[in-house]
């Protein structure tokens, strides 16, 4: 009999995922610290001054990485939501709710750094252009998801209701991403895209990518930490929790 490379079904059960997450957390924590240190060092000391914006552009290293993560986490959340609805998998629902607070934090960080950047460069804290408005909606969607899940007592219903909401809201993500192409906005276009070579200096690009990786590792760490808490909370009465997890 051909044994599959990895038995995915085995890891989709909370009881097996709980110890696995515990093993993964230190690695991702180390990756976060390392990448963030390197990324910040490049951003502040190595990357050259920008010809147009001087030193002020350095906020890009946080802003772009945070914006990417806020959209990416929403997509991952929608993916787990779809899994939760179609396969009725408990762990998928838990993953979605573990990701939401980090996503909301990044969406907020993106808006905050954006307005700190906008004031000196554009001359305005905030403008109602398509990119900014749709990113604000994304933040509200995260808040709505968290509020809905915390208002429903039955965890199974909370998972499914949240899943529907996140799947309805995922339409917003491509709108945010392409808004700078579809409308002529005040916000500049994307510096890094699939179709053309990046329009920024090499070191700047490296700084940005490493910061994005750092945020990515951070999101995974936080999601794993949170999913462990959620598993404990929900499986409190199960035998394996009493035996192994609460020692």
């Amino acid at each position: 009999m051909n044994a599959p490379l990895i038995n995915w079904y085995k890891f989709s059960s909370p009881a097996t995922f709980y110890p696995l997450a515990a093993k993964l957390i230190p690695w991702f924590t180390a990756a976060t610290i390392l990448l963030a240190a390197v990324g910040l060092w490049i951003s502040f000391f190595v990357a050259p001054t920008d010809a147009q914006q001087g030193e002020g552009y350095r906020i890009i290293f946080v802003h772009v990485a945070a914006s990417w993560m806020s959209m990416f986490i929403y997509c991952v959340m929608a993916f787990w939501s779809a899994m939760c609805l179609s396969f009725n998998a408990r762990l998928s629902g838990m993953m979605a709710s573990a990701l939401a607070p980090t996503g909301a934090m990044f969406a907020f960080l993106s808006l905050l750094t954006g307005s700190l950047w906008g004031k000196p460069m554009w001359g305005a804290w905030w403008v109602w252009d398509a990119r900014l408005t749709s990113q604000l909606i994304l933040f509200f969607l995260y808040l709505g998801f968290i509020a809905l899940q915390s208002a429903i007592d039955d965890p199974r219903r909370a998972d499914k209701a949240g899943a529907i909401l996140s799947l309805v809201g995922v339409i917003n993500v491509p709108i945010i991403y392409f808004s700078v192409q579809w409308w002529n906005t005040l916000h500049q276009g994307a510096s890094v895209s699939m179709t053309k070579s990046p329009s920024m200096a090499q070191t700047m690009l490296w700084g940005m990518l490493i910061m994005a990786l750092a945020f990515w590792a951070y999101s995974i760490t936080m999601a794993l930490l949170r999913v462990r808490c959620i598993i404990l909370e929900r499986e409190m009465t199960n035998e394996w929790v009493k035996k192994n997890a609460l020692e």
Binding site: P48, D50, A51, P120, M121, G123, A124, W182, A201
Partner: protein
């Protein structure tokens, strides 16, 4: 109707709905749904009348002059120009030859008076040395052309 047929009908209907929606969205993108208007659009009379709107383009090189705290400059999209009058502090990134978005209205004298000026920067980030190298190369290209 059998369940299989019903599912087919539903899928076809969904595709039709998506098609119609896509058509409507494409139609919308052909008409004007914009954050700002270009000088060409203004020249063609596409911009709003007697109502504030935003104008966007590049600040034409050599057109910025000040009269006390009032600044005058020309916004261009390389084919048409619009003269903008603005009283107040211009943002740091406001330079000749760079992008700008100004909000204001066209007065009876036909001049655009801005109430707010925002600097629009592009998505290119490079160190000053690289920038001057690029500029020099562009100059060289221009002088080489007959």
């Amino acid at each position: 109707m059998k369940p299989r047929h019903k599912r087919m009908v539903l899928i076809l209907a969904a595709l039709a709905v998506l098609g119609v929606a896509a058509m409507l969205v494409l139609n919308a993108f052909r008409s004007n749904l914009v954050f700002f208007y270009t000088p060409t659009q203004i020249a063609n009379g596409e911009a709003p009348h007697n109502k504030p709107f935003r104008i966007g383009g590049l600040v034409k090189t050599g057109t910025l002059h000040r009269d006390g705290v009032t600044a005058y400059f020309t916004v261009t999209d390389t084919s048409k120009d619009t003269i903008v009058k603005y009283t107040g502090i211009l943002p740091d990134l406001f330079r000749e030859g760079r992008g700008v978005v100004a909000e204001g209205r066209i007065g009876d004298d036909g001049q655009f008076t801005a109430s707010e000026v925002l600097a629009k920067h592009d998505e290119n980030y490079m160190p000053p040395e690289a920038k001057s190298a690029v500029d020099q190369a562009q100059q060289a290209m221009k002088t080489l052309k007959p």
